[in-house]
Subunit: 360 residues, 4 copies
């Protein structure tokens, strides 16, 4: 079939909106409603992510892994996906390792998996696509159709916190009331993933801080404060750091920043590494940094991707947050553009939290 698609030729620089032939014959036919763009898309387009590659035998890769789509035709299926349903397609598709075999390709043991729009599989930035029902997660709440494109970034957060739940059992992590109210979380960064981590951290009950190495605009500060998160510019006033942190989530991918905050962790602290920035400058660490981690039983946790369960739970959070925080979530989508505006892949929009492409 012929589709209008946003394409690139990894590992080369460049992005095009063009019509292209794709060869798909799968039981569910879909049209994207919104597709979001993130650092990974920009990294592929700029040729800086060497792991990206086109489908086998092809040169072009259709971009797009953050997506809300509408079903336009559906063969009968056990999962009850029907014409007219809004769905979020799952990005990663399983290989044959022990984790993939039990539906947890996010924990793939051998790298033998594919990611739509990234590694060996066409993405969702196109006028139409087809898929299997098991790769689609239904959006039950009609009121979140305009924000459900955030499901895919949020599923990463849900997986990371699932890891946290397991790992934090290695000692008593909770406070003397068996809860998180007296525990302190720091989210490093103020982009869309940082926001979603911050909201999830507040749901746990953590006293939650967001930080960056520059001040934030008034409007962003208001958004941050809505769920009782406190922002501080760590290059200025670090007084909030004096009680340390129990959980840190890094979305910067910057080694110097990460090690700065590791040294702020309390005993049994957990550091989630999430943000990647392959071009971040080198930083140094020494024996006393290693000591610090050991003497305090600190854990550092790399976390990537998420599986069906995390998409499902992300959708539940979006429903609640949409209600609880008013327009906070929809305000995270700072611009909605047309597919032919490929300029957004090359330049971050001013004040951008999340830019999405509308396909209707």
């Amino acid at each position: 079939m012929k589709v209008d698609a946003i394409t690139t030729e990894p590992p080369k620089w460049g992005v095009k909106y063009e019509d292209i032939d794709v060869d798909e014959n799968l039981p569910i036919k879909l049209k994207p409603v919104y597709t979001g763009i993130c650092g990974t898309d920009r990294g592929i387009v700029s040729g800086s992510l060497p792991f990206a590659y086109a489908p086998h035998g092809r040169q072009k890769l259709i971009l797009g892994h953050e997506c809300l789509a509408k079903v336009i035709e559906a063969e009968d299926n056990d999962l009850g996906i029907k014409t007219g349903d809004y769905v979020v397609p799952i990005v990663r598709r399983p290989g044959k390792c022990v984790n993939c075999l039990i539906g947890r390709s996010d924990n793939c043991s051998d790298g033998d998996k594919h990611e739509a729009g990234i590694t060996g599989l066409n993405g969702f930035m196109r006028s139409e696509f087809q898929d299997y029902p098991q790769n689609l997660v239904k959006v039950e709440d009609p009121d979140i159709a305009s924000i459900a494109v955030l499901t895919e970034p949020l599923k990463n957060v849900k997986k990371a916190f699932e890891m946290f739940d397991t790992v934090s059992k290695k000692s008593v992590f909770t406070d003397a009331n068996g809860a998180y109210d007296e525990k302190r979380a720091i989210i490093i960064g103020t982009g869309s993933e940082a926001f979603l981590y911050g909201l999830a951290s507040r749901d746990y009950g953590f006293q939650t801080y967001m930080t960056n190495r520059h001040p934030e605009t008034e409007s962003k500060l208001r958004m941050i404060e809505r769920p009782n998160i406190t922002f501080y510019d760590y290059t200025k006033d670090t007084s909030v750091e004096k009680n340390g942190f129990d959980l840190a989530v890094d979305t910067s991918g910057d080694p110097a920043t990460i090690f700065r905050f590791i040294r702020k962790m309390n005993n049994n602290g957990i550091v989630i590494l999430f943000g990647t920035n392959g071009r971040a400058p080198a930083s140094t660490f020494d024996g006393s940094d290693i000591d610090y981690i050991i003497e305090r039983n600190i854990t550092i946790l790399g976390s990537v991707d998420g599986s069906r369960i995390h998409y499902e739970r992300a959708l539940q959070d979006l429903t609640r947050w949409n209600y609880q925080y008013g327009d906070l979530i929809s305000n995270m989508i700072t611009s909605r553009v047309k597919p032919d505006n490929t300029d957004i892949f090359l330049h971050k929009q001013p004040g951008e939290i999340k830019t999405v492409i509308g396909w209707s």
Copy 2:
């Protein structure tokens, strides 16, 4: 009471064997049989471990945390500790945090604990000491009296593997047979803790490697090979690294080495940081190192100390290994010296794995 003791005055350089007054009046009276010395003792003596300090109101700290002792007098007690028993005293004593309150001072949340011979509490390198029964772990197997001084270093290993057991549940870590036989562990270093980690790794079933940046002597190689561990000098032939590692244990405390091996980890790999070396030179790491950790869901786990349960399980392992591996364990004790030979705190002995002081 007056005791002959090995003392130091932290944070100053120096060590003395002298008689000294101590003020103890506790229900169990003990005499050390053997006390082991390790890098921590040498670090305190050299003035390079700033966290060491003498008991409140004192200038002198009696050294010694690795110990096998014999009970010479015992008040009646619930734990059934009796005159004549061999026991291993527990190093760390609880504070008031949620972890200490449940008997897990190894996971102390706020640092409000003491360590015999290290932080604020006199150690076991003296002609006599007194203690509470709950701080003593009985050695049931009379045949391991000569090696039970290794219980304390081994309890660290048991705690680290307990952490591993919890953390490795975050995905399927085991192989396709539900076991560890096809999983690969690397132990970085060839000292006494490295040996104990290596033996524990073999008990799990891991294909186990030990490595260092220099070749090993014939006699040490024979010891390493006894439990089917493979040694390689990673500055020479790295062919065994081509399949990566699933578990790494660092006993070097050296940042450059640690990051070298993090880059050898397979997906879902777990890196245990155990060895500390506050004077290790700084090393650099960059954004691609962070990427590596994230994309593979790698976990880095600082692990310190252990609690009663780990001493108990360490004793069980010593019993089995003593039987299973013949003189391998007793050969780990490479020299036994008298208490007045304080020179051993200043100079590593040639061919040393573990040096112990005999007190009888």
Copy 3:
């Protein structure tokens, strides 16, 4: 102080609305808004719950453990509880066991705890009460003030599912997609706790069934079907049982019913026992029932109470459900009565799901 209160004299039959002197001098003063009544209250009043007892030195016990209250005066406190706040008071108060010490009196090891309105502590069915801030959980969402009285019953559900999360890790419990969509849950009973378990089960993604030994009214069926739960009368058509169940929650407390459903469990099935009915008739089970449990690795899990963390998460669920399911949750409160209507303790109201007492 003098309060108007609903009292009983355990273990005697009887209930009164009367003014009574209580001796409290705690930092937060509160007025109940709503208090719910449940089977435990009725059991105490009927003299059939031998574990109930009045505060030390008293004959009368003020009833009431399900409560939404408003703060009328508050000393300054770390938890930020302020005058005007809506709060839910925690029922169980810790003793000195290892679980109580870490804020988990719901898992009390030795029974040395108290429960407001049940065991040794006055409850919340009175015109005014006082408490410590750490026993109060703030209701952040003003829109749920009219349903937040359901927090206490729902916290039991959150604790039971926390247990489920831990226990279900003993094997792969999830389906081939790593989620619960193909897993089947049965909720035995159709009362208020059954409803809350059903909603939580749907949040997990379970295909969820509710059952009873009689048909349900049209209006209740509509409520059950709203979150896609299927009701069946197990004395009539059992066709939905042919694929077995993976999770069962019993709210009946009836042995014969429980064992009937244990025999419907699939391999690795988990049965949560929650409902108690001390007067339920005896039933028989034989060796083949035991075989059934063993050969399928089935787990049976008694679950009682919940702690602060479960109250907090219950409030989040109420916020989402209130939005997601419209008036379903508020319709669970089938009657709101005055405090002097003590008749409700003696007779279940027609069509009752939850009866609450309004205090303003």
Copy 4:
């Protein structure tokens, strides 16, 4: 190939020692050294275990699932199984469910697995058999060749305690020292599995009791007391029950006994159901029994079988126990008979703990 084998024709009564044709062509050829017999074998022979069946298309089933074998010919294999090795063959062979796919057929989700000598697969009671290397677990310690036939029954214990490790995390189960020394375990029964559970319980550190409804012989009492286990006849003196139990393991399969001991459990207690007795008489339980389980957060855990990891760990225990407890373990094998003595399937031997058949 033609083999001398012990056969039965399930579901019919009967057992024969005869020569029989089997059709196997697998890479490893083996001869049994010892095969053990247990209640399951006797149940099959007596026709009382309806789940037993012969291999597809056959009428006869070769019995035998407890086995120590010697490799007589081996194709090259990754697991390093070589001619002359002693090995224990794994009983259960995986199907295609999520648990079987990750090597944990002991947790098979759908029953689509086979068990040698029991369900659809010929067992090991024959002069020769063939197998795949992944079904064989190597015995590294030559000194346990005469007792390694106990590996298979012991692997059940290791799996049950693995379950215990997971499930007991739902609250703080350990004592105030973070260990099991003040926790109390009761093993119901005094047969071979009861012994193995008792030894494992002692390894955890539990104060361990064994019980039965009759007194034991002097020689058996001496065996029980060797690892500091206390026996009592619960029909006589129950004074040891006054502090309750934290762990119970039932090997009787008898409902009345099981419920008797459930009522002795402390809060957070865990009851492992292991023994099956399909013909055990029915017993009654009532609402107050259910209450008891719920109010104390008690868990009842059916546990069957074990996987490779449990065979491996069983072998380690046998090595240690053999050394630690002298002839205790070898004395558990109370008689060694010839294959033609099929009478042992019909009559329990006097004083029997474990009867084995020698094949050489």
